[in-house]
Amino acid sequence: MPDLEFKATINGRKISRAARPHQRLLDFIRDDLNLTGNKEGCGAGECGSCSVFVDGALMKSCLLPVAKAQNTTIETVEALAKTGELSALQKAFHKTGASQCGYCIPGMVMAATAALRANPFADREEIKERLGGNICRCTGYQKIFDAVELARDVQNGTLPTSALLEDEVEQGDFIGKNVRRIDTPSKVSGRLKYAGDMTMPGMLHVQVLRSPHAHARVVSIDTSAAEMMEGVEGVITSVDVPGEDGFGVFVNDQPIMARGKVRYVGEAVAAVAAEDPLSARRALSAIKVVYEVLPAVFDPDEAMRPGAPVLHDYAPDNLTKHIPIRVGDVDKGFAESDLVVEETYATQAIEHAYLEPEAGLAYVDHDGVVTIVSPDQNVTHHRHMLARIIAKPISKVRFIMSPVGGGFGGKEDMIYQGMLALLAMKTYRPVRLVFTREESIISTAKRHPSRTVLRMGLTREGHIRALQMKMICDGGAYGLSTEGVMRKAAILAAGPYVIPNVRVDTFGIYTNNTPSGAFRSFGALQTAFATESHLDICAERLGLDPFHIRRINAMRDGAVTHTKARLGSVSLMRALDALEKSSGWESGAPTSRGCTRGDLNREDIRPPCALGARFAAAGKQEAAE
């Protein structure tokens, strides 16, 4: 593979260097020039974290073969301001709080810069349209649009530059005030190093071989050919685990790499550390794994039936966790009710889709301390687990939490840190693993898919007398956070309502699907979806206003929950008042309005998405001229 001689002007400096012919501009900028401000979020042109200017046009550098940028002028996020300074736009992002995890932000700043270069007077709709190629997962867009509008107005002189400064806050008085985040300058400038941005001298690159089968016995793994390949420094499988294998949040049922069998598509089977990612990738295809495919089960109801394929020997009924809650006597409660309604609710698996795919860097330091740097949401627990797995005293295991480019619970599991530790120990060199987006989606935890049968008994006036819920969740192939998710789902199942008779059962079940785990709300979403949808249905059946039925059942200050927690203060009534007002709710039963509604199409409600704001702007400009 002959290199190509790549010439360009990057951030004002002429460069002339060898590049691999297949290299993407993104990799060249990040790996060869060590300009890591622009990130890789998807590698497929979907997210915009890698946006750079090429001859003045913003482009996605993950879609650009480096040769396409031959003899061009390139600007990365590092070019927007001098080191230590910020552009007006970057200052505006700082001012409005337009960065949370920060991973998408360099790309956002680039897209915002392009938008204001294209039209310095762009209105909010046009800004949205021009930022359409960039995805953010946690900041929430509104603050980003606020920032672009602020920078636009400052640049156009309609606001003073002092508008970019922090609002004055009285000494010590921060509650309810707009306070700037101290980490924003590092995020808007691209200077913050996420794990995938970090390098060390002599660092190797890791790639992981993953299972193509949902359920199979691993008959044999032959890594000999891979180990002999040029550039390969280390290959590991489960036999390289020196201690007691197994990690999890509640039950340590997941091996670092498949041990004896694979239980889901995407499960790690082996890993390679090599001088460059391509060599590691090629070595993967030289690893020979013989599988004996086993019957698999993909539905939790089927997994609960006798005779279903069993995933784990310790759980012959495929039960990860059952959480029961019993309050009062539900049969009595239903007997006292004027109306009993039963419905079934289902929710699906959801991917966290944080913009930063999993990444980690590991090394064994001069004192023999195995050190893992990764965006890990649970470093202390993982440190203890890893010490057991690699059979080292806790003092020889160190976890460093790198900036988390979005987690939402999805980075609570020790899904890859163990492989990094083993490879660092085996090669005695620093090793780095950066997931692709596809790898992140296929191998890491999802929100639990659920199926809930909910039965509720109410009086004619709408008072809830009894609630009975049975929720079955697909926990996937390994336990991860399932036990905790089932517990919280059960605790919150009956909602913030006074109900004298409650019977709740939540079940987390093993299947051969991708493991389910922690995800914002941790089980509350699934049961709240059922309970709140059910209240609306019951309100309709009783001819009551949905706000009214909630108010008359609401827990008040000092209430005792279904699991005997005493609540000092309950803000539900205030929340309902605020919601009713802001939504413009027209009181009455859901059936009372007929087909006309006055609460839609208000000025403060955004109409459905449309494109073409730039045509309206161009029209106005023409009219003015």
Partner: protein
């Protein structure tokens, strides 16, 4: 991951054909490459090794744009963004800017080419229905006996099915020629899962020319995509509307006509509803941009579908 031994950037058509000949059977021609890199990833083609990638996007002939009174000629490597920033082009092809603004996003449009969109032949390609409505022809070239031989073909015949075209071995799409339709009102209607970077579930290109009073339809062009294996020109509704008065009732009648063409693999019922809505909205938007008499289109119809 896409890898190659050589990444070749020919500076002329002759050079491109020489490279294609010397790497025959071991090469892949790319233009904008915006679909090539995502294609060579897990879940699609996986890791792909192509010995020689031949990037034709910088060949000057393939980037030429000429706007004549009757016809427009577009080099195949014309980036989609040109339909937004080239004002003479936007005037001659009134639906194309509307199509372009829905096409991927600002960044990908700067790189993606019109020729790539056509040769990719996705059933959901956005630019193809627009060009079909403009009576587009493709110009294909190949090397025979040391000379470049060219042939022409109607675009609607060139695209033969999902990801399939009539492009022959060793042949390149070099240009597109289509009707210049200045004075027409143009619209492009599209629906998908998000605003940017979205693959059309259905899209419709509509072009409409009205008489001076803005009351009678002099000419109309309509094409749909996303509803079956390839984009379709709507000859029936066009014939029905052409030379007739512009009225809400006639637009409603025309809107019902193409719903029977929906032959997609999924969600046919939904697509039929969308097609009907898009016909109305597309025709109304195009009529308004063509200078329709405001009184002709009833306010209710505008409110419902605009």
């Amino acid at each position: 991951m896409l890898t190659c031994d050589d990444y070749l950037t020919p500076g002329s058509l002759d050079e491109a054909f020489d490279m294609m000949a010397s790497h025959r059977g071991r090469h892949r021609v790319i233009a904008g490459a915006t679909d090539t890199l995502p294609w060579a990833r897990e879940g699609r083609a996986g890791d792909v090794h192509v010995p020689a990638l031949i990037d034709v996007a910088k060949i000057p002939d393939l980037r030429e744009i000429s706007v004549g009174d009757r016809r427009v000629r577009l080099g195949a490597a014309t980036p989609i963004q040109r339909f937004l920033d080239h004002s003479a082009l936007a005037r001659a092809l009134p639906a194309m800017p509307r199509c372009a603004v829905w096409f991927a996003d600002d960044q990908i449009r700067a790189q993606a080419t019109i020729g790539g969109n056509i040769v990719n032949a996705s059933p959901a390609a956005d630019a193809t229905p627009c060009l079909i409505a403009h009576e587009a022809e493709v110009e294909l070239a190949r090397l025979t006996g040391g000379k470049i031989a060219r042939r022409r073909m109607r675009l609607d015949q060139f695209v033969t099915g999902p990801n399939r075209t009539a492009l022959a071995e060793g042949e390149l799409l070099v240009a597109i020629e289509c009707d210049a339709l200045p004075g027409f009102g143009g619209s492009f209607e599209k629906v998908g899962h998000r605003r940017s970077l979205v693959i059309s579930l259905v899209c419709l290109a509509a072009l409409l020319k009205l008489d001076n009073a803005g009351r009678k339809i002099e000419d109309v062009r309509l094409a749909l995509a996303g509803i079956g294996p390839k984009p379709v020109r709507l000859a029936g509704p066009e014939a029905f509307l052409r030379a007739g008065p512009l009225s809400a009732a006639r637009l409603e009648q025309a809107a019902d006509m193409p719903t029977s063409l929906v032959a997609s693999r999924t969600r046919q019922e939904y697509r039929r509803e969308v097609v009907r809505g898009f016909m109305l909205r597309g025709l109304i938007n195009a009529a308004r941009r063509a200078g329709a008499d405001a009184a002709v289109l009833s306010l209710e119809l505008e409110a419902a579908y605009a």
